[in-house]
Amino acid sequence: MVDYVLLVLAAIFVNNYVLSQFLGICPFLGVSKKVETSAGMGAAVIFVMTLASAVAYFIYELILVKLGIQYLYNIAFILVIAALVQFVEMFLKKSSPSLYQALGVYLPLITTNCAVLGVAVTNMQRGYNFLQSVLNGFGGAVGFALAIVLFAGIRERIEHNNLPKAFEGFPIALIAAGLMSIAFLGFQGLI
């Protein structure tokens, strides 16, 4: 039990996908202008990443391992994630318009979020079982949501500051992201 809790905590803080492993930087910079939108993106990532790690686990164990073609994992995972995101989007649109309103517009963007693929690959490489995979996916996604919401808060404040012309916009955002990454480095050795 403690192992599982530690696994989730490690995925959120120590192995934070954005700030420690530098995956999923595209949405991290792209959708972090407002806290509101970044929270929506974070929620959508939690939803999809958890689901994707579960589905990717089955695809890997039941198809790739059985046929002895594990080396195809990248292609298979990308295929699964892209199809899954599309399907989830359609399903939510029909069955739960309110949840779709909350997440929907962020869902298509996740298709290209490499953190989702990163989680599936990490799960496979570490040989996690089903529960561990899902928990790692969930923890990783919570870590992503945490990072992007914090970052959006910082960027909202930067917006009102008087910056040198050369640093306006993305340059200062990248510097802020770097500093955040250094701050998260402090979690190394926690677990």
């Binding site: 959708v31 939108t37 298979a76 295929l79 199809a83 359609m90 399903f91 649109k93 069955s95 009102h160």
Partner: protein, 293 residues
Amino acid sequence: MDITSILYPVLSVGGLGVVFGAGLGFAGKVFAVEEDPRIGEVLGCLPGANCGGCGYPGCGGLASSIVAGTAPVNACPVGGAAAAAKIAEVMGVAAGDSEKMVAHVACKGTCDKAKSKYEYFGMSNCTMASQLAGGGAKGCSYGCLGLGSCADACAFGAIEVVDGIAVVDPEKCVACGKCVSACPKKLIALKPESKKTVVNCSSKDMGKTVIANCSVGCIGCKICEKECKFDAIHVENNIATIDYTKCKDCGLCAMKCPKNVIFNPRIEAMKAKKAAEAAAAAEAAKAEEAKAE
């Protein structure tokens, strides 16, 4: 080499693709939801790069926000004016909105006409400056600070700070309303472009205070209110306000305003002409006098 080492990967990955494709195609039919056709049209006008520069999640997110009315038609910084015009066409037809609006800054207290309380060396940002005691460096606490927050907010370069006052170029203005919300002094409002008569002051101070701070401020004398034949201009809270639904653009108020706060280009031209004539007459009289001597 075993043939299965080629067959298995091809079949499994291909099979997965076929299964997912068929599944998605089927799901698309089953879960089909009717959506506003305008979303697709607006999406077609956007660049489709999904860059997120607008602050919305991709072009689709922006398109639905525009159709829902929560985002302005020119929210896409990449597409610029061209995309905005196309989207406005899509949205405008549906909204039935034809009257072209422009932003107007209701303050003309330029550096030479309005007093300053102190010299301001802080951030070049009106929101920051207006939070200081007394609402910024300007003597008049309602006036334009001239630090250009509205100009920064304008994606079309339609606002410029001239002589300490923001000025809108009506040619470039698309009435997106970004400057309206950017101005901490609430000086900017959208008005119909066809109506040329404007009140160039927002001060709610009493007349005495206004005169002490600015030579072109509204003193709330109500002459305009009395002159107006259409009940279109009213002085409330010591400031004249024009009701553009009633205003006929006759310019009587602009003619009679003792502080020249109300502006109408036609009346202004007339006044300039009269002044020039008077000056010419005075000149002629002087010359006559000189001759007589």
